[in-house]
Amino acid sequence: MTSILKHVFAVAMACAAATSAMAQDKVTLVVSNSQWLDALRGEGLWNAVKAYEKTAPNIELKALGIPSKDYGDRLMTEFGAGAGPDVAIIQEGVFYALADAGLLVDVGAAAEGVPLNVTKDNGIVDGVTLGVPWQRAAYALIYNSKLTEAAGAKVPATVEELIASAKAVQEKTPGSIGFTARHQISDFSGFYMDFQSWAYGYGASWVDGAGKLTINTPEAVAAVTAFKELYDAKVIPVGDDFPTQRTRFKEGQVGFSIDNSGGTLNIASGGATKGSDIHAAAMPFAHPGAHQQIYVVVNANSKHQEEATAFLKWLMSPEGQAGLRKASGPDMLATDVPLDPDFVAANPWATTFAEVATKSHSVLIPGFETETTQIMRPVMEAVEEVLINGTDPAAALAKAQQRVDGMF
């Protein structure tokens, strides 16, 4: 009896040791992204990423979802404190701040031999690849064809035409809204990023060839003046925050908007307005607009940097990109994977975003990437002053120029 017990005990110990060894071999990578919490595409994106576990059975991926409003602040605080997730999917602004602080790992190995497109450019800092592209959300003009056709409104090619078409929509459908746009400093981050499309669209550049910050250029004054004309045309729901404005578009109450591809996907999903009723066109400006670029990075505090870089390499592979394509809707990816034909059939607006994303500019100011928000604060306060108090755009931007000059 004692002998049998001894054998049973020995087998149990062996099993426990084997299980423990297997568990020790398994590496857990924590991957953070605000998009994991996205009700519409969060699950799809996570499943696309989670597919890596089939290729690498020794890896377990764990999602860390943080609301987008707090995402950058929290990650910077965690990285700065020597902690944070192994892999982070971050906006370009946060990427530059972390890169500047030396908190990102060289992930050049993940991009070796991969035909990355133009989205890779800003992920390379001083010749070192510190991030590989996740998604690029460019801006375009979107419109609800039901409302615009009912009003006989043409697709505008200029701001004057946009005002006329937005007014036509409001007149034809009582209670409808002509145009939606962020217009309040309470949503500073979104406001400045959206406004970059206006600035770039009018040919403004916030920095000149010599690296001097140029805020009150004639192009910037023209952009602010045009935005003010639109604001005064009483076609914008003044006071509404942007989630509310998007919901109004979703519910079929809005004629036109300038939004990015991620926002448009949100509008086209799960509301009264079908994706097939939404159309997109180039923005009514002479020059290309802005985009928001997201990168995937490896935390320098991570204990599993090699495994994390291997994960990024898989993400850049045809298999990883194909999975991501299905879940990403219209966003431009790291490689030129064509949009899903079924998605395009249901969402005719998607192709326009794919086109504009190849020519658009980063919302960050070249050479001042880590200081962009600091610089854009007085600029956007000047824009707000023009909108609310009717201050002359040139005077308001001259004041902003003075404030910016005193910063550095």
């Binding site: 910077m76 701040a97 602080a101 400093i185 006071g239 609310i388």
Partner: protein, 316 residues
Amino acid sequence: MSDQALLERPAAVPAPTSRKGRGSQGLSRLLPYAFVILPAAYLLVFMFYPLGRQVYLSLTRTRLANPNRSQFIGFGNYERLFGNPEFYSVLKITLVYSTMAVVLGVAVGMIAALALNRPFPGRTLVRGILLFGWAVPNVAAALVWLWIFNERSGVLNTIVTGLGLERISWLTSTDMALPSILLVTVWQVAPFVMLVMLAALQSVPEEVKEAAVIDGADKLSVFRAVTLPHILPTLQLVSLLVMVWSIRRFDIIYLLTGGGPVGSTSTLIVKLRQVAFENHDLGMSSAYGVVGLMLALMVAAIHALFNIRRQRSNSR
């Protein structure tokens, strides 16, 4: 019996002489420290250390993403701060906002407390309803008020336009944003003031008031000569609390206006957040924090001075 007398050992009780007695005497001598040590440790770790750290950070150049690689720059941040005209605007808004929050919040709370201090049918229910503003979490309250203030479809503008008036830009005009925020603040603060003042009012001895009435004093005179002196210490304390809370209030302002429009509601704390998380400048944001701390300490010092003066006049 005075506090001092209570603490003194009665002369009739013989001092314990045994070892056991000496041990228990030693233990009882240590007991007060045992009670104090936990709260003291808590304050040290969660209050004084962060405060000290903040003061130190304000003397350094520190980036948000790199807090461990700070560079000591002495009073450099303060030089920049005091040389920046924007700082004085922020300071002015903070003072105006905090002072108005005290004046209006305490006035409304006091009036409500006086009204509720007399019996009437349904008093308990009314008291419960009036406490609602204080009980609602700040974030939830701010989101509800965002809808109330909405320019197109908010309740307030529905009333305003129903009266045949022009829509008001409650949160999007530089003239109205601060008063709108004050309205929400008073809605939140007044119930607390009411509750505290009601407790104070109920402690005023009825017989003294009755004696004053018998002596021919009218209601206003009774309030001025009897009630007010009784409730004055509580009133001062509640004013101090409301002032300090207002200096450091963040959530309501940040959620309603984010400091805008055109900086018209940008208080020290809102600015601190902006400098820390938009400019990534922890050193400068700490300097803003230290100014806020000094402001709160000044208010507390004024309150202490009033207290000392009152105690002196009472002891005469």
